[in-house]
Symmetry: C2
Subunit: 365 residues, 2 copies
């Protein structure tokens, strides 16, 4: 009875998992750095990727992958087993993929900072000495470093030591995740600079770019690594999709109202590029004509300054858009939590997923 | 005896192989297009990649992969067997990878045309209507389309239907090939705009960017797919590396002296970006001070016109650089052919590799 009682309250050690994932990433990158040094290839390639990958970040996708693996397990309440090394490495491959996605995303969004440090294309531009255009060099070299991280994400997965059947299942999830997020980014790109009041369009971008990529597919990957049945995968989607949407809606708010000291990101980038966020769609739909004109004249201006951003923030608040997006976040969090209640999960897993839902939607960074 | 006599002269059907590779690529992309349509995702993503992949190209890397597979086989002279479908599909994955590499390469080199048609970033820029910067959109969307082709190259390989052991061996070669070519591109990028007379540096770029990527690793991939012994792989390198270098040296010459109607590429791009080619390194080393100054003042100018290019061509010819690079090509072709003579291969395979060596080094496009 004592063992059983302990088990119910024994939480999954997410902080410990994070350390294991980081150790896996560091070990892999050390190996790549040694291989490059052995052939006298430039050392900054691996050191820049290493700095970027290990500089911080929530490790959200690998942790969700781990939770997907746990969720596919027993629904009784034993102490949660330690995650097998091949699963840790597969989870780390998601983080390497995310590094690739962020490096390219920062180029596309013209973001100068990420995680409080210069984005990779800015770091590379700063290294460029001598003749030629430093910005151009930075962008082009960052395309390559992103490509390398993409290839290495793949290598981490297929050298994880998974049995062939599990590896094949995992690859299927990764394939789907990759094309979904790339289409999502493409939808985002075609909408950027021409934002509209079309909430459906804005939510569709969110679904592909974030909800599936950040929450649903990482959980599915973990479930696939555990040999999960399709029914479990469907149940995880019912939790993942509304939560992933809420996560992006929170991101939209932080992208305009956040504290750059905490988020590590500019609060001007989204407004300057004219990003089609749900927040902006709602504001355009709700603002009176005068305020709508104000939004239209300011959002999308590459030279928008803090003063202009303040005006945009005021319009978004006064039009009720900020409150409405908070409402949408709350609604989606409740949907996700209700889906959890309907799914038979061990208490430790249900608890971790519940904590994750609150962390992702209430976060400040 | 009749069957045997026929076998010796039966060549490997490279044209037929090419058709099978193209059919595999078309079939795969059709599937991706249907999947996108089913989710009402934008159709131009697959149609642009499809147009680009199937518009032409020599299919060099997949054909060399096929020859690597044949080279790993029996050394007697039976009629060459038909390439198994999983090997065709793995070979096609190399072509999809190459599409990715070219899409990103054209962004980095600022190339407006490829295979006689607009490069992908130009085609995307032309589609951009409405407000915003069309060039910027074209570049960013092309980064994404390239990323998608990269992911699809991977998917083609791991869904090829290979037995797990062969797939793992193939992935090992692909991993190596990917980082080699990306480091090669990085070396190229850091040297572009600041060309020197350092022949060793120029040849090192060639080795990583082209010789390994275009010739050595495709042959190794094919050999790995056939379960080849390491000794055979080493023997293929002795043929591949000098041939790959000669291929790039020919490319350098075509990039300056070629006929754009035949190559499908501009003869100004390399000169305008100040590409560190072997041709330019030799010209800078051999030209007298006056001509060297002329090269330095013209090469790397973004506004270089046909008249300036004519002067560069004259200096390269008069300094003896053009002749010297032709000599380097001939020397490397002979090395490659001598390596073939030392390797026990079936007559059909040796013949195909010999024809390939001549085609790659004597080509006009």
């Amino acid at each position: 009875m004592t063992a059983c009682a302990t088990a119910v309250t024994e939480p999954i050690d997410l902080a410990g998992l994070r350390l294991r994932i980081d150790a896996e990433l560091a070990g892999f990158l050390d190996g790549r750095a040694r291989a490059a040094a052995a052939q006298e290839l430039p050392g900054e390639v691996t050191s820049l990727i290493r700095d970027f990958v290990l500089a911080g970040g929530k490790r959200l996708r690998p942790l969700l992958c781990a939770l997907g693996w746990y969720a596919a397990g027993e629904t009784a309440a034993p102490p949660p087993p330690s995650l097998p090394l091949p699963v840790v490495r597969a989870a780390a491959s998601l983080e390497m993929f995310h590094a690739f996605a962020m490096i390219h995303d920062d180029i596309m969004d013209g973001s100068d900072t990420r995680r409080g440090a210069p984005s990779v294309h800015r770091a590379l531009a700063a290294r460029h000495a001598g003749p030629g255009d430093a910005d151009r060099f930075g962008t082009h070299a960052a395309i390559l470093l992103g490509d390398l991280a993409h290839a290495w994400s793949d290598e981490l997965l297929h050298t994880a030591g998974l049995p062939p059947g599990r590896l094949a299942a995992a690859r299927g999830v990764m394939d789907t995740m990759r094309w979904e997020v790339m289409y999502g980014q493409y939808l985002d790109l075609t909408a950027t600079g021409r934002p509209t009041a079309d909430l459906g369009r804005a939510l569709r971008i969110v679904r592909y770019k974030t909800a599936k990529y950040t929450v649903e597919r990482p959980l599915h990957l973990g479930a696939a690594l555990a040999g999960s049945a399709p029914a479990r995968t469907t149940a995880l989607s019912a939790y993942a999709l509304p939560l992933g949407e809420a996560f992006q809606l929170r991101d939209d708010i932080l992208g305009v109202y956040g504290d750059p000291e905490v988020t590590g990101k500019s609060v001007l980038d989204d407004l300057r590029t004219g990003k089609q966020t749900v927040l902006l769609a709602v504001a355009l739909a709700r603002a009176d004509p005068r305020r709508r004109d104000c939004l239209r004249s300011l959002v999308g201006r590459p030279d928008l300054d803090e003063d202009g951003a303040r005006q945009v923030r005021a319009v978004m608040r006064e039009s009720g858009a900020l409150g409405e997006v908070e409402r949408l976040i709350g609604e989606r969090r409740r949907q996700a939590l209700r889906a959890l209640d309907r799914t038979p999960l061990s208490p430790a897993v249900a608890d971790a997923l519940r904590r994750t839902a609150h962390a992702l939607t209430g976060r400040r960074a």
